[in-house]
Amino acid sequence: MDAKLRASLRRENQIKMLSVLAILVGCGVILFAVNNLLVSFILAFVTNYLLSPIVDFLERKRVPRQTAILIPFIATACLITFGVYKVVPLLNQQMELLASQLPKYQADLMNLVSGTEQRFKVFFKLYNVNFSQAINDWIVAKTQILSSALPSIVSGSLTVLILTPFFAYFMLQDGRRLTRTLMSLVPNSIFEIALDLQHQLNDQMGGFIRARFLEAAIVGVVVWLGLQIAGFPYASLLGLFAGLTNLIPYLGPLIGAVPAILIALISEDGMIASTMSLNLIIITSIYFFAQLVDIVFIIPFVVAKIVNLHPVTVVIVIIIGSQVMGILGMIISIPIASAIKLVFQTFYRHLTEYE
């Protein structure tokens, strides 16, 4: 290849690469700058990956793609409507019960805290810190923040609720075409690597999201069943909470178990001695069993095959995620880290391991 051609190719490739990067950065800036857009986009992305196997299945059955996309959307809408009529009253009933019991729980919790404080004061007489007052102040401050932020949270949630299915529909309908258009701008010299990488990332991300949701659903159902059998109150609420918090790696299962353990603890008249009560043992066993099912069956067979990260890396990545974007950061940090790892691996393999 002569020098003139090499220079002209380099210039053309640079322009193409800059165009691709400019488009990606522009989209990123818009997503971060506009309120609720990033959350809606991430949720639509997740919805896209959850629904795409169903859409592909229907397409295999010779259903036109547009109809194949509409079917799961209509089915989901029907499920939500059914949920509103059937499940929401049940959850509502449990919420009302919880709300009516809340002052009692709050008083019991304060008793538990002050009781524990008294016990610790016996050991640490030197320290004169009023824990119960500090906790009370914290709760009051957080409640005030929540109540002042509530209108914006509600309007934000509504926007997300409308935007998410809208984006998800178009991701399923035109996502591939859009990717191909973007890929057409990639220079010839790195086109094959870019295509390979895009495909692998797509596969990995889809597998990861589906695996995490399967995991969350199984943990939620196991907790709900266990609490229902044990005759514990708010089984559906706690099952739903356990499933949702299970999406947060490592810390999620612990957070998920906190409300049930707290309820079990403060139901026993705020006595610290009751921690060994039968009720608490049953609750802990149920959550432990749910995690056991997760660790023994789901993680080794589903998740570990998709995300190949060392546990220490996972913990560091989650900490970084939580500091950058809070709970959302904790949830999305692992797929982002595994995607970065895949990008490095693919480029390394393509560019260095020549035979």
Binding site: M1, E59, R60, R177, M183, S184, F191, D196
Partner: protein, 183 residues
């Protein structure tokens, strides 16, 4: 405003070209019009300048190319050859409706065994492993037809290679053992 119309017509002509090139290719010859349209929506049209490499020997290959326009030269590098200018050994020149690199469609992280360079301004239609996977996932009937033809092509190439190896072995044997001299 005329240029707008011109562009529109050009676009549809180009699309027809891609489909007709696909139809003429052995891999896609069993597909009906609907399946061809589907494959056409997946392939990648790439343009190369004269002298621009399509891929280099040793790189990880992801798929095959069909030549829509132009000529492609295939080279093999011999690192042991004396002098830099002698390292690239010319193998063949391919023209319109020829295809190359199909082995990469079935190999896992397979390396390109030769380099391909555009001889003149060329338009290639790329069909890659992710595209084949997508055909198999979304339209398995078409995918199987393509895979059967691909197996046939690879089988034929293997047969030709085996024949070539046998010929070379015979030639080497003859060189090593000169024919007996009559007394």
């Amino acid at each position: 405003m005329n240029y707008l119309w011109d562009n529109l017509f050009k676009r549809s002509k180009k699309d027809d070209d891609v489909r007709s090139i696909l139809r003429e290719n052995i891999l896609f010859q069993d597909l009906n019009d609907r399946d061809l349209r589907f494959v056409e929506s997946l392939v990648h049209v790439r343009r190369f300048h004269a002298g621009e490499p399509v891929f280099r020997q040793g790189e990880v290959g992801v798929g095959m190319y069909l030549i829509a326009k132009g000529r492609i030269e295939i080279f093999v590098s011999d690192p042991n050859a004396p002098g830099e200018e002698n390292r690239d050994i010319f193998i063949t020149q391919l023209g319109s409706s020829d295809f190359f690199g199909e082995l990469a469609l079935v190999e896992e992280n397979g390396r390109r065994t030769a380099s391909a360079v555009a001889r003149d301004e060329s338009t290639l239609i790329g069909f890659f492993k992710p595209d084949l996977t997508e055909v198999l996932e979304r339209n398995p009937e078409a995918g199987i037809k393509i895979c059967l033809r691909l197996a046939e092509v690879l089988g034929r190439r293997l047969k030709e290679t085996t024949e070539k190896v046998s010929e070379l072995r015979r030639a080497i044997k003859e060189l090593r053992e000169p024919p007996p001299v009559n007394p």
